[in-house]
């Protein structure tokens, strides 16, 4: 009985100590550190996310005629979740902030828009209507919310990745919709997106490189889109853990080694 009371007391004492630490004021760092961190890291995080996206799913994110219902929902959510997952681990581990995915999404959003508006539209004159970037901000909010509620990276990787894929498709399909309207061009019925792809020249991207739905006898109940979403969600779970591996072994583990050493 006395031992139990002692244990409770010790636990309460630890809680008090942790509360004290949590609200401790630091003379020189305090909130200035936060401002410096969030703003300077934005460039690194945005660039890392954008480069990862471009490496794995560049063309799908660039051109409307690549944003198809078969490959886009498979490749892009997988490519897009890697860095948000890494940031989610780091920010949750260090500060218990469910913000890693949203922070990455917001940073990447700004990076992508700067690139598309100034570089692709301003410098090489592709219309933004053809080269707009996909957004992952709504998907990022869902993923962070999932971590906040489950407090588990395993559950977030399974449930969150699936929701991520679905929300990625939903939030970008509404902007893609006008480009999927049919029109007649060169004597064929094509989508507006197809016409953009034909008209706005891509000298070193021959059309046969365009990896989009092309028809197959393996189509499951002819519902390509739903099969792709399910497969994409499964692949995104793997992408989530690639991000976790980056965070745990490339970001956090070396810091631990460094701190132990000195």
């Amino acid at each position: 009985m006395a031992a139990t009371a002692q244990a409770i007391s010790a636990a309460e004492a630890e809680r008090q100590e942790l509360r004290g630490l949590l609200h401790k004021q630091y003379r020189w760092l305090d909130y200035k550190f936060d401002i410096v961190f969030w703003i300077t890291a934005a460039f690194v995080v945005g660039a890392a996310a954008d480069i990862t996206k471009l490496l794995f799913a560049g063309d799908w994110d660039f051109w409307t005629d690549w944003k198809d219902r078969q490959w886009w929902p498979i490749i892009s959510p997988f490519a897009f979740i890697i860095i948000p997952s890494a940031l989610q681990y780091i920010q949750w581990l260090a500060w218990r902030f469910p913000t890693g995915a949203t922070y990455t999404a917001v940073c990447m959003f700004l990076c992508s828009w700067v690139g598309r508006v100034f570089q692709w539209q301003g410098f090489v004159s592709y219309p933004l209507a053809f080269v707009w970037p996909a957004t992952i901000i709504p998907a990022g909010i869902f993923l962070d919310w999932m971590l906040l509620k489950t407090k588990s990276f395993v559950l977030t990787s399974i449930l969150g990745s699936m929701v991520w894929t679905l929300v990625f498709w939903t939030s970008n399909y509404m902007t893609l919709a006008p480009y999927l309207q049919p029109t007649q061009f060169m004597g064929h019925i094509l989508t507006v997106a197809d016409v953009q792809g034909i008209q706005y020249l891509r000298s070193q991207t021959p059309e046969y490189l365009r990896l989009v739905e092309n028809g197959t006898l393996r189509s499951f109940l002819e519902e390509t889109q739903y099969v792709s979403l399910v497969f994409g969600a499964t692949l995104t779970v793997a992408g989530y853990w690639i991000g976790q591996a980056i965070a745990r072994w490339l970001a956090i583990w070396p810091i631990g080694r460094f701190m132990k050493q000195f």
């Binding site: 939030s171 034909i198 706005y200 021959p206």
Partner: protein, 408 residues
């Protein structure tokens, strides 16, 4: 000393600027010359104009032939794409005909076949642009045809109108940008609201500082939100739920909007086909290449070929085409001929006769375009000889040979 250094730097910068002329090309000379010669030849390439206004059309016509000498190392050609290369979308592709058929996408191709093309382009960006027709082959790369400078004059603006099947006319330069921007920036607003709440203590609370948290988070399990010590509060959960609901509302509104506004949608289309063969051209001659030599000092290629006239009428050798270059008989060439060759002996080849012809192609273009280089694993020449009979019938015969370079 400082002045000398500055002058040297200035001269160096000027010298570098002088190389800008080279940068106006499209990398065609970076491809190995023997591969360019043995893969695709472009002939009869013609640009309808060299100056157009914004919105005005220009046509490029010509013929591309996938030679029988196609190198084994590149794999068998199966899919190709006729396009142009230019510095970005300075023109729009309005129509593309291959062997008379409309070809919006790639086509299926076969070695030995020829493809007549007609490309209709519209001026878009004002400026002076270097434009080439191209023939890309899957697995091999893009082969570039003869180019021309095209000037696009400013007409005070440009619109690219397209009529949809529902009758609506849209300008593809800006279509959908407004709606896309609204949805994406509303999403950005939600994302920023989430971030500001969680990272600004004045908004989210004192527990949203970072600097004081590490000593705490390192001492509690990873799968707890530390509500008992105030790491994450009930208010945090409530606000996060509300922001998620806002996100759901945005998705629902967006989905309903696109469903109502664009009820008819189809997936992106892929239209690839095999173009019909061109009418079989009569074969007027058989050619055996005896030898070929190249002098890098004078940039002169000399070929000796045995030509047998297999037709029933006398024929004449008119020219030689390789990659994007066409050489015409110097004796018959007009003043405008870009590249010429000397044929010896001159004259016709009678029906059934076999004659040895000596072809001398002395032109700096061999060196300038790096078509024949002695530091390559294969020093070869390939292309097509063009024969013509008295009635004007033309025939092309593919020739290929190793080349003996004059090294000493």
């Amino acid at each position: 000393m400082t002045h000398r250094l500055l002058i040297s730097l200035l001269l160096g910068a000027v010298a570098l600027l002088g190389t800008a002329v080279v940068a106006s090309a499209h990398g065609e000379n970076a491809q190995e010359g023997f591969l360019r010669m043995e893969t695709v030849t472009f002939s009869n390439v013609n640009f309808s104009k060299d100056t157009i206004k914004q919105g005005e059309d220009l046509t490029i016509t010509g013929k591309a032939t996938l030679l029988d000498t196609w190198p084994k190392t590149l794999g068998e050609p199966s899919t190709g794409f006729v396009n142009i290369t230019a510095p970005g979308p300075v023109m729009l592709m309005k129509d593309r005909l291959v062997n008379g058929m409309s070809a919006p996408d790639a086509i299926f191709v076969k070695k030995g076949n020829s493809y007549d093309f007609k490309l209709t382009l519209t001026g878009r960006e004002p400026g002076r642009w270097h434009v080439h027709p191209t023939f890309a082959v899957e697995g091999a790369g893009t082969l570039i045809g003869p180019g021309q400078w095209i000037t696009v004059l400013d007409a005070g603006g440009f619109t690219n109108n397209l009529t949809l099947l529902n009758g609506q006319s849209v300008n593809l330069e800006t279509y959908g940008v407004g709606q896309m921007s609204i949805f994406q920036w509303l999403g950005f607003g939600l994302g920023m609201a989430w971030m500001l709440y969680w990272t600004v203590p004045a908004i989210g609370g004192a527990n949203h500082r970072t600097v004081s948290k590490l000593p705490v988070t390192l001492r509690i399990p990873l799968n707890t939100d530390g509500q008992d010590i105030g790491l994450i509060t009930k208010r945090d959960h409530r606000v996060s739920n509300l922001l998620l609901l806002g996100t759901v509302a945005l998705l629902v509104v967006g989905w309903v909007y696109q469903s109502v506004s664009f009820p008819i949608k189809i997936p992106q289309q892929v239209f690839r086909f095999t173009p019909p063969d061109l009418p079989a051209a009569p074969q007027l001659a058989q050619v055996i290449t005896r030898d070929a030599s190249f002098d890098p000092q004078t940039s002169t290629l000399v070929m000796n070929v045995d030509v047998t006239n297999t037709s029933k009428a006398p024929i004449t050798l008119k020219g030689f085409t390789t990659s994007s270059l066409t050489f015409v008989d110097q004796a018959a060439a007009g003043t405008g001929a870009e590249h010429v060759m000397v044929i010896s002996p001159q004259g016709t080849i009678a029906a059934g006769e076999t004659k040895t012809l000596n072809l001398t192609l002395r032109d700096p273009v061999w060196r300038d375009t790096r078509m024949i280089e002695v530091n390559r694993p294969r020093i070869e020449v390939a292309g097509q000889l063009l024969f013509q009979d008295a009635s004007g019938t033309e025939s092309q015969t593919t020739v290929a040979s190793s080349v003996n370079p004059k090294l000493i």
